[in-house]
Amino acid sequence: MKQNDTEGAAQRIVVCLAYDGAGLLELAGMHKVFWESDRLMIEASRKGYRLYTASETGGLVKTLQGVSIDTSPLSDFVGVHIHTLILPGAIGLSCDTATGARLLAWLTQALPFVQRVIAAGSALFLLAKAGALAGKRAVIHWSLSEALKREAPYLKVDGYSLFTGDDFLWTYAGAASAIDLALAVVDKDCGREASIHAARHLAVFARRTGCHPQLSEMLVSQMYGRDVFHDLHVWVQANQNMRVTVDRMAEQVAMSTRNFSRVYKRNTGSTPAKAVERFRLDPSSLSPSYRQDDCLS
């Protein structure tokens, strides 16, 4: 135990918990950010990161994309002081399965000794059951925020931001934003120089802050005049019986109301409120290919 303590002082132990169906990109993205930062820290003889990938029983775990990765069993980490525990989201991860129940049992006893948790998607449900989310704020991919709100009503669910972070819980919305989150974590642990170093080595386009919208204005404007509001119009048509407000439409496309109104007007030439009004009079007015024709001409 004495030895573990000294090791803990020299390195931050980062354990990524993997299970079948976990996303490979988020796992690899965070790994790479911590690894690049560690390289810099080693050069500077400063405290870096030691990275582990674990699973309940160890051995091969099949990621969402079908690539299998090797893992250490959780039993290897008994008594180890985990600095950062990463819990990626996974389709099929649920407390209702036998595996989920065992992971929950492990989490419940391990969490008091973990300094920081990074989690996403379905892993948030496990954490909720483990009692780690009371009064917390979490983000989730905009396409899933409704489901999480139903499942965990006491949690402040944010379907708009890229990631959140406080002293203990960090959450991220989607695969690429896991990189943004890891950069912010490194910034906090090792300083700005280390996070800039990692960002440059990864050649990311930008260091995005947590409150940056999931769908950046830049990405949205690339869809300009193409399919940007296609899905939204399909959704409005499918929800004819519901009172569709501008706020709900903005939420549906993961934008702030103000930004949505601006982008919508620029794309379609009409305000969202006008479009909804027209739609009530004539449901075919919101054809999914609306405006596409004048762009081609």
Binding site: L27, L51, A176, A199, V204, F205, M218, Q222, D227
Partner: protein
Amino acid sequence: MSNHQTPHRVVFSAYPGVGLLDIAGAHSVFWSAGRAMEAQGALGYHCVIASIEGGLVETAEGLYIDTLAVASIADIADSPPGIDTLIVPGSPDILPALSANECLIQWIASSQLALRRVASICSGTFLLAAAGLLDGKWVTTHWSMCDTLKSRHPSLSVDRDAVFIQQGNVWTSGGVTSGMDLALALVEADCGREVAMQVARELLVVLKRPGGQPQFSELLCAQSNPSGTFDELHLWLASNIGQNDLSVGHLAQQVHMSARNFSRVYKRVIGRTPAKTIELFRLGAARRMLEDSDRNIDQVASACGFGDEERMRVTFHRHLGLSPRDYRVRHLAGSR
């Protein structure tokens, strides 16, 4: 779009020391695109990670990934339509990896004849060069390795200012995440723009970068100053660059400072005036739009906040030594 009876077969070559994120980034793009295509009833992608010996391969980041032996995918390679796309990822320590993976280089050299296209990610360009696939070509690689690549292969034109480059059926990309941009471009070529944008949205990338972009975007450069004071402001600016009445006053307002004080502090922290930053951000946005859209020059000028074409032309000449029109022509020619 092709009429193959089977999904496009995309093979990633793994080797000890390979960059995990180099593989994972491009792999996720193809995987998501494949699902989107299948949802439309179209053929998707079949992704395979292969190494010379097969089995577990240790990546640079220390994680082991499972691979098939190249010999066991030989039947894929030999039977029509064979391997569609070979992706060669890089390594953060590429020079030792080169000498340790002679067999892989030979396999790349021998398999390229049967491929529709081959693409390298990051320092994977060194492996393609060693396999003799790049002689005389215009290529790119991780920014930190451009000089090394040039000195080892003098016949190459190494472009440090590109996210990715296409030369016939050979594609090369810049540092790590540029591999995702390259993969999105390949997906767009195969499946159309809508699918590529859908994947970009699903993965929450910042934007789909066209090839001729610097690996350090104007935004990342501005965010690379030691103090983080203006990071938020720079993100805001990048998102609002289309406003043609953007002034130093607007920026000052964003950070709740007086215009005079803001200009002074900004210059001291960032090392250039706010007006200069606005100009650089407009230039970056215009370069992307010229490469990535069909909009005419004056539409680009107005969408990027230049106001008129002439102001954009002057800015292009000052920074790039060519007109927006020539810039577009050069990039269209380069990607052919």
